[in-house]
């Protein structure tokens, strides 16, 4: 049986790049509005006409965990996500280099790396996405929902050609 992994479900085709998720995240985490400090980021792929949310997907192998020299990056057992203990993070950037998605980052003004922790299982961003691009349903995790989302994106790309 697959290890339990919690995730946001992304439906790329529905994202309009309104960036309400970035605002929700930075407000929840920092108390003010700053997309640079958001743990989720919207990348606009202009040529394809698509907007792609990038956020930690809590992958099973999690290369950021062994990359961390201080053991600050770990898999939480209470809420099954990968997270960073800020007090142990030295801001070296090894996790940033290890992440294949660019989902971890350390903004200039911060001394620690920032990574989505799903707000302890109650993500601030998902309810703000009124377009349905970003949803969170702990009961429907994660493969089936993602298959649908991915299929739609691939279908759109194939149709484009």
């Amino acid at each position: 049986m697959e290890a339990e992994i919690l995730n946001l479900t992304l439906d790329v085709a529905k994202c309009t790049a309104c960036r309400a998720c970035e605002l929700a995240c930075s407000f929840a985490k920092e108390g003010f509005f700053s997309p640079s400090l958001s743990r989720i980021r919207i990348m606009q792929a202009h040529e394809a006409g698509l907007n792609v949310p990038i956020v930690c997907v809590n992958c099973a192998s999690a290369p950021c965990i062994p990359a961390c020299p201080t053991g600050a990056v770990y898999r939480d057992r209470t809420v099954p996500v990968v997270r960073i203990r800020e007090e142990e993070c030295i801001g070296c950037g090894e996790c940033i280099r290890a992440c294949p998605f660019g989902a971890v980052d350390r903004p200039q003004c911060k001394e620690v790396a920032l990574m989505c922790d799903l707000c302890d299982g109650n993500p601030a961003c998902a309810p703000e996405c009124i377009y349905g691009a970003l949803t969170f349903d702990p009961k429907r995790q994660p493969a089936e929902a993602k298959r649908w989302a991915t299929a739609k994106v691939i279908a759109a790309r194939v149709r484009e050609k």
Binding site: T16, C18, L23, F33, G49, N51, I130
Partner: protein, 637 residues
């Protein structure tokens, strides 16, 4: 890391001296003028004098963000550009969406005031606190998309947001625009030519800071509430599904679909212009939001056959499919997608470009222009190929004919003569947007008094149609009776226009898209004032907010008075005042000079302006606290 949204900062840029410096906006001014459009009005009034050359170094451009831009207030990411217009010689404010306004605020700036003229092509690079005027010789002559790409490559950051002009702005085409974050256009009045005249090719911005509100949690909650209410509005749903051109079937049904240079109000196959058609036929490939928007009316489209060229780009707005489409007798969807992309890439306002060409087409069909005078173009209505060629020539002023048209229909019709001014769809030198003002009297009044010329983008009085209960409620609130929600009535039109001016001005000062408050009504004076108070930590009530809107409108009027404009300039295009609606449900309708005069009398009196001249009275300025700023133009009384 973050700064309070109430601390407003101006970045001054003197291109002649190649100098930049920071300045703060006084707290009192923020409350008085509400931000964005309001502060910009004050700055432009103060920093220019009457009679400046719009394309000279004394003209000033104010790039302004909304006071709530960058927060979670719904659809509050809009910015404005304010300067003196080279098309009209009068006040010009253009509003634009996209992402550059929010980026600028995160960089720590709320306004960029550009004065002077650079000695050669430059661009402005704003990297948080670091500001630099850089060489742009290698960008000069390039299209807006390529310029955006090159800037990102050169500065090594894909996240940069830009505002750029195309060849049309460089060549001072009087309807050139500024393209913002690739897809959004600050369009009207030749704002691109002003930027071009300053040798300023682009502004590139990267902001990594944050914005905080005085009462953060309450602000976040109220804005979220407004956002959900707005998303639930039926108007929002239609805008999401079909975009602005989703109203084509409605306009057709109402007999208000401007076609053939406003000589008709219907066109065969009008469905091919519609957002519904874009969706059903597979042209639509994506929906785009401006920053923080819960509506996403913007489109991303593709061509299917590439018969006219290949498009993977921003989709056309309602005004675009009317102006470049129906007004030019063109309903070929693919041809329109290409014409739209051409305008965006060359940096031209689609409304004026369309109406300049539709005027030329009518003049050609009447035999006043021929192939010799058009530099070989067969300008019959419906000739999309000729339209595309002409668009390319216009942006570069290529050939005598394009050079003539590049100065707009007022100028072109004066040169061509032979009554061609009677079918030039312009007033004050600005081409009218494709809205039929003959059958909607608040619209007629609002267009006539609009400081920048006849269009729906300084205020819009959609509620007068009474399509929804919300609009009828608004009309009842203004006039006391929802029976006035009838566009054919002339009573109470001044009250309706002035209320909408106030709301529109306040919305734009705060950064709200005006769809939220004057098409849908989820954003209203009450919750705007609440949000402003929570954000700024300064109490502001609904009445004060509306007064802020009134101040903007009054300063804008005073600016035009200073330029010599008077009551006789508040008119509509000749055709709109002298030729009745030919067919359809509004057949026979007209807003002629006598009817307009009645509306203007109401309007000036309501504003406390001299009815004979339309000049604000000193007592009115004193009441609004504007005596010091604009007293130089007031009439005693």
């Amino acid at each position: 890391m973050s700064r309070p949204i109430s601390q407003q900062r101006i970045l001054n840029v003197d291109l002649t001296q190649r100098r930049t410096w920071a300045e703060k906006v006084a707290q009192d001014d923020l409350v008085k003028y509400l931000g964005g459009r309001g502060i910009a009005a004050k700055l432009l009034y103060e920093r220019t004098r009457g009679g400046v050359d719009p394309l000279g170094s004394d003209n000033v451009m104010v790039f302004a963000t909304g006071a709530l831009t960058g927060t979670n207030a719904p659809s509050s990411g809009r910015s404005s550009v304010t300067c003196k217009s080279p098309a009209t010689g009068l006040y010009l404010k253009v509003s634009v969406g996209g992402h550059v306004g929010a980026e600028l605020r995160y960089a720590g700036w709320d306004y960029v005031v550009v004065s002077g003229t650079a000695s050669g092509p430059v661009y402005l690079w704003i990297d948080d606190e670091h500001v630099e005027i850089r060489d742009a010789r290698h960008l000069w002559g390039r299209g807006t998309r390529e310029t955006d790409d090159l800037l990102k490559a050169e500065l090594g950051d894909e996240a940069i947001r830009t505002a750029v002009i195309g060849p049309a702005g460089e060549n001072r085409v009087l309807f050139s625009c500024i393209m913002v974050t690739r897809y959004n256009s600050a369009s009207r009045g030749g704002v691109g030519a002003v930027m071009g005249s300053k040798n300023l090719k682009a502004i590139a911005v990267r902001g990594r800071g944050g914005l905080s509100c005085a009462s953060g949690k309450e602000y976040y909650a109220l804005a979220g509430q407004m956002r959900r209410k707005l998303a639930a509005d039926s108007g929002s749903e239609s805008l999401y599904n079909w975009g602005t051109s989703g109203s084509i079937p409605g306009l057709d049904e109402m007999g208000m679909l401007a076609a053939y240079n406003f000589s008709r109000v219907a066109i065969d196959h009008s469905e091919r212009l519609s957002g519904q058609y874009l969706l059903d036929q597979g042209y639509l490939i994506g929906r785009e939001s401006c920053f923080g928007c819960s509506t996403a009316c913007h489109r991303y489209v593709r061509t299917l056959t590439d018969e006219w060229g290949r498009v993977r780009d921003a989709g056309p707005e309602l005004e675009t499919v009317l102006s470049l489409g129906a007004e030019c007798g063109i309903t070929d969807t693919e041809a329109l997608l290409v014409a739209n992309r051409l305008c965006n890439d060359l940096g031209m306002d689609t409304i004026s470009a369309g109406h300049v060409i539709s005027w030329a087409m009518e003049t050609y069909e009447r035999g006043i222009l021929d192939k010799e005078s058009t530099d070989g173009l067969d300008l019959r209505f419906g000739n999309a190929g000729a339209q595309h060629t002409l668009l390319n020539r216009l942006a570069r002023r290529e050939g005598a004919f394009a050079d003539l048209l590049a100065n707009g229909t007022r100028h072109a019709s004066q040169e061509v003569g032979r009554d061609s001014g009677t079918w030039a769809i312009q007033a004050k030198g600005l081409e009218q947007s494709a809205v039929d003002t003959r059958a909607a009297k608040s619209y007629a009044l609002a267009f006539a008094v609009n400081p920048r010329g006849p269009d729906h983008l300084m205020t819009e009085t959609f509620a007068e149609f009474g399509f929804t209960q919300e609009s009828r409620d608004v009309i009842r609130e203004i006039t006391g009776d929802e029976a006035y929600a009838n566009p054919r009535l002339t009573e109470k039109r001044a009250d309706i226009v002035r209320w909408h001016e106030d709301v529109y001005g306040a919305s734009e000062a705060l950064g709200f898209c005006v769809f939220t408050s004057t098409a849908a009504f989820a954003v209203n004076p009450r919750n705007m004032a609440q949000l402003f108070s929570l954000g700024m930590g300064v109490p502001l009530d609904e009445k004060q907010l509306m007064l802020g809107g009134r101040r903007m409108v009054t300063i804008e009027r005073c600016f035009n008075v200073r330029e010599g404009a008077r009551r006789q300039d508040d008119v509509l295009p000749w055709r709109m005042m002298n030729e009745k609606v030919p067919t359809g449900t509004n057949a026979g309708m007209l807003t002629d000079q006598a009817m307009l005069d009645g509306l203007l009398d109401q309007y000036y009196a309501l504003h406390g302006w001299d009815v004979a001249t339309a000049v604000p009275l000193r007592s009115t300025l004193a009441r609004l606290g504007l005596a010091e700023l604009c007293g130089d133009v007031a009439l005693e009384g």
